[in-house]
């Protein structure tokens, strides 16, 4: 596979390490009420769709960016690639 890196252009997927569903960006607050339930869902439960999937790839053999790649799990077609940090900031993560 080839991942079009937003900063570096097309790169072989072999340069990357895969993590999984991009929902992992949205880590529940561990101090909030019901944190254990929220973190259980966050860590273990997955939609696992057959079709479009937003997922996290890490450019380990490259610039060490984490990317959010939108990829079809049936055709492997990639339709969007974003820097995970931008996605996380837009979601207000960590604030």
């Amino acid at each position: 596979m080839i991942i079009p890196h937003p900063l570096l252009g097309p790169r072989d997927a072999q340069e990357f390490t895969y993590l999984g569903d991009a929902s992992m960006i949205q880590r529940p607050d561990g101090t909030a009420e019901g944190a254990e339930d929220a973190l259980f869902n966050y860590v273990y439960m997955r939609d696992n769709p057959a079709g479009e999937h937003r997922e996290l790839w890490y450019h380990e053999q490259g610039d060490r960016s984490w990317l959010v790649v939108t990829r079809n799990t049936v055709t492997h077609e990639i339709t969007q690639v974003e820097l995970a940090r931008d996605v996380a900031l837009a979601l207000g993560c960590g604030a």
Partner: protein, 416 residues
């Protein structure tokens, strides 16, 4: 019809006119006591044990394509019970025992071949881990031997002992491990289940799980609604898709695992070998092909095909371990979709929907589990209690922190 050598001879001299279909091709009835979704190895085994051991009468297996067309028809055929953890080892050991009696139970020769499986180790730490595992196996009543490098060399002198990046320091041998003719497993279970009245309905795709007031009523299919007292889902690779029809999410990701076979070669490799310093395992089939594989590609996929980096990685491991295989030609590569669970271990359990039962999350190890999975799932469907060897395979173990994590990789499915 009973199969035997005499039968084969009689048919041969009378022109093979007496053979009948191995299983019937029935129309679906309006309802069954138990409907099993998925005509793969696990689903068919479940049907067989439901009918033969639990006396279930009105059972159907429904399959969207042709039976045995999923992972039971697309794997590297290895059987073994070399697990370490208490939640796993008794289950896989029961499976191995069921394999050992399979031909007689089914009157079908699935060519269970106990050629031995040898896991090689390449460091002191790995050897200690294998000793721990081997001891767990022995304490659970399975066989296991810890071999030193000399013993490994005596068994397989052609392995790379002299030019290795990661020298072979020994291995864990389970002599009762081996291989089975995988397609025949599906056909044998189908035939046995069919002979006890189970309806095996092919080309019947589930389009919905009908649930009312938290209770399952049956399945909507491409051939109409089929009512069911209980529905058991055994659709590895598609578990998330099917269970989503009942509104359930699972601790599972779907990943592609590639496997490979070489051209037919005269017998050169007796048993199964796994490389401990790379992603490579290999056996040789009764037709002569080297059957080998490695790691999953590592990304979510439903595509049943993989990519070149994994192929290269596997062959690198192959040549590093067995320098002779460079001259063997890879004949065919294929990909199967694995239910990769969050701790690398399976789930056989009830679900929050009454009457709906789930069997999945087998990662890349479902084939060897086929008999035990079928028996344990049949037990659960028939009795509503988990089989004694499968009590740990609960859905809520993740919630409670009782994971069964042989590899110690945590909730990262592609590392299991």
């Amino acid at each position: 019809m009973r199969y035997s050598g005499f039968r084969v001879i009689r048919e041969a001299v009378t022109g093979h006119k007496g053979w009948v279909p191995v299983w019937r091709d029935p129309e679906p009835q309006p309802s069954y006591d138990i409907v099993i979704v998925g005509g793969g190895g696990h689903g068919l085994a479940t049907a067989h044990y439901l009918a033969s051991r639990y006396g279930a009468a009105r059972v159907a297996v429904i399959e969207k394509g042709w039976i045995g067309g999923g992972n039971v028809g697309r794997n590297t055929t290895i059987i073994r019970s070399n697990y370490m953890l208490d939640g796993n080892e008794p289950f896989y050991e029961m499976s191995l025992k069921l394999w050992e009696g399979l031909e007689q139970d089914l009157n079908y020769n699935a060519m269970v071949s106990q050629r031995g499986i040898l896991n090689l180790c390449h460091s002191d730490g790995q050897r200690d881990a294998y000793r721990l595992r081997g001891n767990a196996m022995r304490l659970h009543g399975a066989d296991a031997e810890l071999l030193g490098p000399g013993e490994v060399r005596a068994m397989y002198p052609f392995l790379n002992f002299d030019d290795a990046r990661f020298p072979i320091k020994g291995g864990l041998l389970q002599r009762r491990g081996g291989t089975v003719r995988h397609d025949a497993v599906a056909w044998g279970y189908a035939r046995a289940a069919d002979s006890r009245g189970v309806d095996i309905i092919q080309n019947c795709e589930v389009t919905g799980l009908r649930v009312e007031d938290g209770r399952v009523l049956g399945v909507d299919t491409s051939r109409g609604f089929i009512g069911a007292g209980k529905v058991g889902v055994a659709v590895a690779g598609n578990s998330s898709r099917v269970m989503a029809m009942a509104g359930l999410r699972l601790p599972i990701e779907s990943h592609v695992l590639q496997a490979f076979v070489s051209e037919g070669l005269k017998p050169v490799l007796d048993g199964v070998i796994t490389y401990g310093a790379g992603h490579f395992y290999v056996s040789q089939s009764d037709k002569g092909g080297l059957v080998f594989g490695g790691d999953i590609d590592g990304y979510n996929s439903y595509a049943q095909r993989g990519n070149l980096p994994t192929v290269e990685d596997v062959c690198e491991g192959g040549l590093s371990l067995m320098p002779m295989v460079g001259q063997a030609r890879l004949l065919r590569m294929w990909g199967g979709i694995m239910d990769m669970s969050m701790d690398g271990s399976p789930i056989i359990d009830r679900t929050p929907v009454e009457g709906l039962y789930f069997n999945g999350g087998w990662c890349y190890g479902g084939f060897k589990a086929t008999p035990a999975s079928g028996l344990a799932f049949a037990h659960l469907l028939a009795t509503d209690t988990p089989h004694e060897t499968a009590t740990a395979y609960r859905l809520d173990r993740f919630r409670n922190g009782r994971m069964i994590d042989e590899k110690g990789m945590g909730a990262t499915p592609n590392l299991h």
